[in-house]
């Protein structure tokens, strides 16, 4: 995983914290929470695109984590363990909400429908970089299935075979859904930029 693993000293102190949390010390729980809260909450927020749901899911994930911290034996990195747990909590939630496997297992028709082309006016690339807020806005618009795969792969750094396993779909599906998600994001970003160019920066339109 790209993020989460630190220098040996950090790992050492984290394993000490885990040992203390296993003894029920509040301070250790608080410190572990503090280290991981942003990453956990951000993942939940991006997967659900809903702050209230993200808060509930983060709470659920931390509760599950702390309730079974006594079973953690250190075979895998703590952050990996936590991360899997969060992803599971979120996916369970999405399934309950009716985000079915269907959206992932639909016939792969990415090859059959090429991108609609309007040569000429649209031959301009996106301007500059894409900041966090803009990205948040357009990710919100993705259908949940696409969003989950996009977040897991492009944001969280999961491999397609891992995604296929946790999302219960094929590697090919994961790849094609990811590609579609990126194309949809591009469309949304270009639309936003056009609107910005037309109306000027927000707040100046009237």
């Amino acid at each position: 995983m790209a993020q989460g693993e630190g220098a040996p000293s950090k790992a050492d102190s984290e394993s000490q914290l885990i040992a203390r949390a296993q003894r029920g010390e509040e301070e250790a729980f608080a410190a572990l929470f503090e280290i991981h809260k942003r990453r956990v909450y951000s993942l939940c927020l991006r997967m659900t695109a809903d702050p209230a749901e993200a808060e509930d899911l983060s709470q659920e994930a931390f509760l599950q984590l702390f309730r079974k911290i006594s079973t953690f034996r250190g075979e895998s990195a703590f952050s990996t363990w936590l991360h899997r747990l969060v992803v599971n909590v979120v996916l369970m939630h999405l399934r309950k909400k009716g985000v079915q496997k269907i959206s992932l297992d639909e016939v792969d028709n990415s090859q059959a429908e090429p991108v609609k082309r309007e040569y000429g006016d649209d031959d301009r690339r996106l301007l500059g970089s894409v900041d966090r807020i803009t990205l948040n806005n357009v990710i919100e618009e993705l259908p949940p299935g696409y969003r989950a795969i996009f977040v897991l792969h492009d944001v969280e750094g999961y491999e397609h075979n891992e995604i296929a396993r946790i999302m219960d779909c094929s590697v090919g599906n994961s790849k094609s859904q990811l590609h579609k998600a990126r194309l949809k994001l591009r469309e949304a970003l270009r639309r936003d930029q056009k609107r910005l160019v037309r109306t000027g920066p927000p707040g100046r339109s009237n």
């Binding site: 029920g24 010390e25 301070e27 729980f29 608080a30 309730r67 090429p114 492009d154 990126r182 194309l183």
Partner: protein, 242 residues
């Protein structure tokens, strides 16, 4: 356009090449070798834009920053862990002030010594303030309007200490709200959020303590939360007077 080719034929040829590009694009972005993708992008403006955009989206996503969860997240997690007995050793009053992993209120990494000084100053303040507040006639009526849950809580804990802390808080709170208007708006928002989060914490502790009046841990949390609140109000007032 190639020699002897109609406009229509040229467009079709272009579309075919672009379609080939699109078919190979995903694999190329997955890191597979696709020379045709690069060579087509060189000759086709449209596809070059698409490639550049998708690479930009990929790199921006990998550098996506983190969002800060609301402060009440820990309050809620902690309250549940205490109720379930997962947290068996609560942090002492002192330790909760030191920035070991932080508890939200002292978010800036202030040096340990400064934190300790702050905590000590607070206790000195409390000791100095209590007789003063107690001697004021208003304090008895303030104590009289305490919600039943609080009285229950203070009755089962070192009662006198808890009740006087609550009177102190009440007085501080009145002073805070009297002065809040003159506070810098962003600062006011920050304090207001922290106060809200502490009030939620206190409320939860009260509920738990009603359910389990004999749970010493809950009593300890409750008195810690009151102490936190008094300290927060005090720091707001001090900040405002500067």
């Amino acid at each position: 356009m190639k020699d002897g080719e109609t406009v229509e034929q040229s467009r079709t040829r272009k579309q075919d090449a672009c379609a080939d590009f699109e078919r190979e694009l995903a694999a190329y972005l997955e890191g597979e070798e696709r020379q045709s993708v690069l060579s087509h992008a060189e000759s086709c403006e449209y596809c070059r834009c698409m490639l550049a955009d998708l690479e930009l989206i990929r790199s921006s996503s990998a550098e996506y920053g983190f969002e800060e969860p609301p402060a009440r997240l820990w309050t809620n997690v902690r309250a549940t862990l205490v109720a379930e007995g997962v947290i068996r050793q609560p942090a002492s009053f002192w330790r909760r002030w030191l920035p070991v992993g932080g508890r939200g209120l002292l978010r800036s990494p202030i040096p340990l010594a400064a934190a300790a000084t702050l905590a000590i100053a607070f206790v000195i303040f409390l000791k100095a303030a209590l007789p003063f507040f107690r001697s004021r006639p208003a304090s008895s009526s303030a104590a009289g309007i305490q919600p039943a849950a609080v009285q229950l809580a203070s009755a089962s804990s070192p009662a006198e200490g808890s009740a006087s802390v609550q009177r102190t808080i009440k007085a501080l709170e009145q002073e805070y709200y009297a002065n809040a208007q003159s506070m810098q708006p962003s600062l006011q928002v920050t304090y207001q959020k922290s106060l809200q989060s502490l009030d939620n914490e206190i409320q939860e502790c009260r509920v738990f303590s009603q359910k389990q009046p004999d749970n010493a841990l809950v009593q300890q949390y409750l008195s810690n939360a009151y102490a936190d609140k008094a300290e927060l109000l005090q720091s707001a007032l001090e900040y405002n007077l500067r």
